[in-house]
Subunit: 408 residues, 2 copies
């Protein structure tokens, strides 16, 4: 992969091993999240006090190991909003996030006590397509910053789609997430209306892959923060748009699961649908969860061990440049009348270029994926994620707006 | 309190200290939850593997220290359900709960891997008023097992009220809760429909009181598991209804918070409304959070330090028998269009007799409570909580149904 002279499997393992050592993580099985941004844990202290750095080249909440809870909130700009209004809003969000993530109340925080447990809080801000137009900056909008094209599998509800601004708020404690969402929402409520809020959760033993509510490991094939692949595939280098250097893009898909009919499938049927064993998450070509899937492997009758129609066969990148970072969360909301549950996945991916990395994979899955029988995309949104704030005094999106101020 | 010869403050402290020692807890500040049912924690192992015993004189999830997540789910019995159907359902729930709480998959669990992290899971079953009628056991229904009388402050939405059967499912991990709710719901779906599911969360440092989303400590005055008061005030002794010995009652109130207007109040205004300082949660009569409030204390002008209109003054038990166990959770759902948030409290209380313990307090609060300006009860439900299952072979509610089988 990174080094064509080395067999891919060995390279991958070496990368994983190296990252795990760098992170000081307990297990080397996972993708080695966020070596740089992880707060060192001391089991004698209260983990609710752990913090993730706010300032940096990149926004936190992307290379950061995902904590147990997330809220994704989208906002629509009010009619008549100006570029200066948006800059003002971003300065407020920057100041609020810089404080809250470090366990300090926001300015004029009406519930300062709820800020006392940051619990690895991260706040990640994104720009929806229309924000650029409202700000008079459409010429700086990345070409991939558009609603995704419609897919035949979509059953989208506008209530879960689009949005001018995004907040991704993650923490280990749900109370921390609730407080941060409220503070950040209400401090800008004269400028925006809340379009949607989607809450999710994920749990796994340290070093293991989370499972979604279908019971499958979710996120095995991923790119490990700290690796050259990650740098290249996730972070924009600013070549085309200098303001975006160190930023990225985010796709959020709300994928409902039809667990009623999924329940009718036994473990073998599920394995053939996904392409992995259920219990171990190992590719059906053999080995363990983090071994590379061998899509050419056949059984003694010449039948592919991993069905070409299976989810991992269809989702597999055709080339290295089709990879992206997955950082999803489960959702489980109150069921509609007559239903037993309302569950699914908040699929969140980060990639430098949606058009070249994410879309080809999504197109393949929409064309055919055995899993589509049980999963229904009901929400879809795309955001440009500006770079981080290097230090106090700056604000999120400054590179975009200041370039505009001097050059427009 | 327990010993009239000892000043109440000292007695309370002694009780708290004793319980904390028994529980081996880190802090002696809180009410000393669940000495008996707490699994000992070893920081070197994965807390997602911790379990709470299922079998016992009482159901778990009441004297158990509340973990971070809860779902309260109510079910309506389908038309034509017989007593035998209900017994069958309860046997399924018993078997499922006995396994899931110990980290084992339920029988025919379609996602057995999601059962591998019990995370202190408890499953608590309750009987709504109509269940007794459907089962032909109305003569055994406790007199307090009825919908609460209407209060002038109520703005109840039937979507959050009542129900024939209740599940209270609590765990430290949201995925565990989601899996348990789904397993228990779908295994009985031919007999019931889901009436409502309400999800909540709570977070606090060990030994400290949780805060609600108004920022207030919530649950300071509570009765400590393991104390004689707890035994007397929570568990039924079976004198009136032998089947209920070791059981109790539950009130669940969904209380919406108007955080928009609450935000207009400063810390002093909040303190006078609640009767406690915001930061410390200390009664305005002085001292620290767990000191007794002195409702007779006046300032040098003769004005009560704790306003008689304040929440704690109105909520304070007129006598010892008006106390009950509070075990609430915050909720924070997706806001309705045009709103910033949709937050509140899932107030859950356990008491031997709703009519004598809970109702007088609730009546006083409904008549007047300064806090009512910002809180709106939108859901209400009452359940009889049968005793625990002593050991393998029994089932939840057996005492009720077997007494009926032999005596009816």
């Amino acid at each position: 992969m990174a080094d064509p002279a080395t067999p891919p499997r060995l390279t991958r393992r070496r990368l994983l091993g190296g990252t795990a050592v760098a992170a000081g993580a307990a297990g080397a099985a996972g993708i080695g999240w966020g070596a740089a941004s992880l707060t060192r844990r001391d089991h004698d202290r209260d983990p609710g006090l752990d913090t993730v750095a706010f300032y940096g080249e990149h926004q936190a909440g992307i290379a950061t190991e995902p904590p147990g809870h997330a809220a994704f909130a989208a906002y629509d700009l009010a009619a008549g909003t100006t570029r200066e209004d948006i800059v003002g809003l971003l300065k407020i969000w920057t100041d609020d996030a810089a404080r809250l993530t470090q366990g300090m109340p926001a300015l004029a925080d009406t519930e300062p006590e709820l800020a006392a447990r940051p619990a690895r809080l991260t706040v990640t801000v994104g720009f929806g397509p229309r924000m650029f137009a409202v700000a008079g900056l459409d010429q700086r909008r990345p070409p991939w910053c558009n609603p995704l094209p419609p897919f035949t599998i979509d059953r989208l509800d506008p209530a879960w789609c689009d949005g001018d601004l995004l907040l991704q708020i993650c923490a280990e404690e749900a109370t921390t997430v609730a407080h941060a969402v409220r503070v950040l929402s209400k401090h800008v409520k004269s400028l925006v209306s809340v379009r949607w809020v989607q809450r999710g959760f994920r749990n796994a033993a340290r070093g293991q892959t989370m499972r979604n509510l279908m019971g499958s490991v979710d996120g095995t094939v991923n790119i490990a923060p700290g690796t050259p692949d990650f740098e290249r595939l996730v972070w924009d280098d600013g070549a085309a748009r200098p303001w975006l250097a160190g930023g990225t893009s985010m796709v959020l898909r709300r994928i409902a699961m039809n667990l009623e009919t999924w329940d009718e499938l036994d473990a073998d049927g599920r394995a053939l649908t996904v392409g992995r064993t259920v219990a171990e998450g190992a590719p059906l070509s053999g080995g363990a969860e983090f071994d590379e899937a061998d899509f050419g492997a056949v059984d003694r009758y010449g039948i592919p061990k991993i069905p070409p129609s299976s989810h991992i066969a269809r989702a597999h990148h055709a080339h290295d440049g089709e990879r992206f970072l997955r950082r999803g969360y489960n959702y489980d909301d109150a069921p509609a009348p007559g239903h037993v549950s309302n569950s699914g996945l908040l699929f969140a991916s980060f990639q430098r270029d949606i058009d070249t990395q994410y879309l080809p994979v999504q197109q393949r899955l929409a064309e055919f994926d055995a899993l589509n029988q049980w999963t229904i995309p009901v929400g879809s949104a795309v955001f440009a994620i500006p770079p981080g704030v290097p230090g106090p005094g700056g604000y999120l999106g400054q590179q975009l707006f200041e370039a505009a101020a001097t050059r427009n």
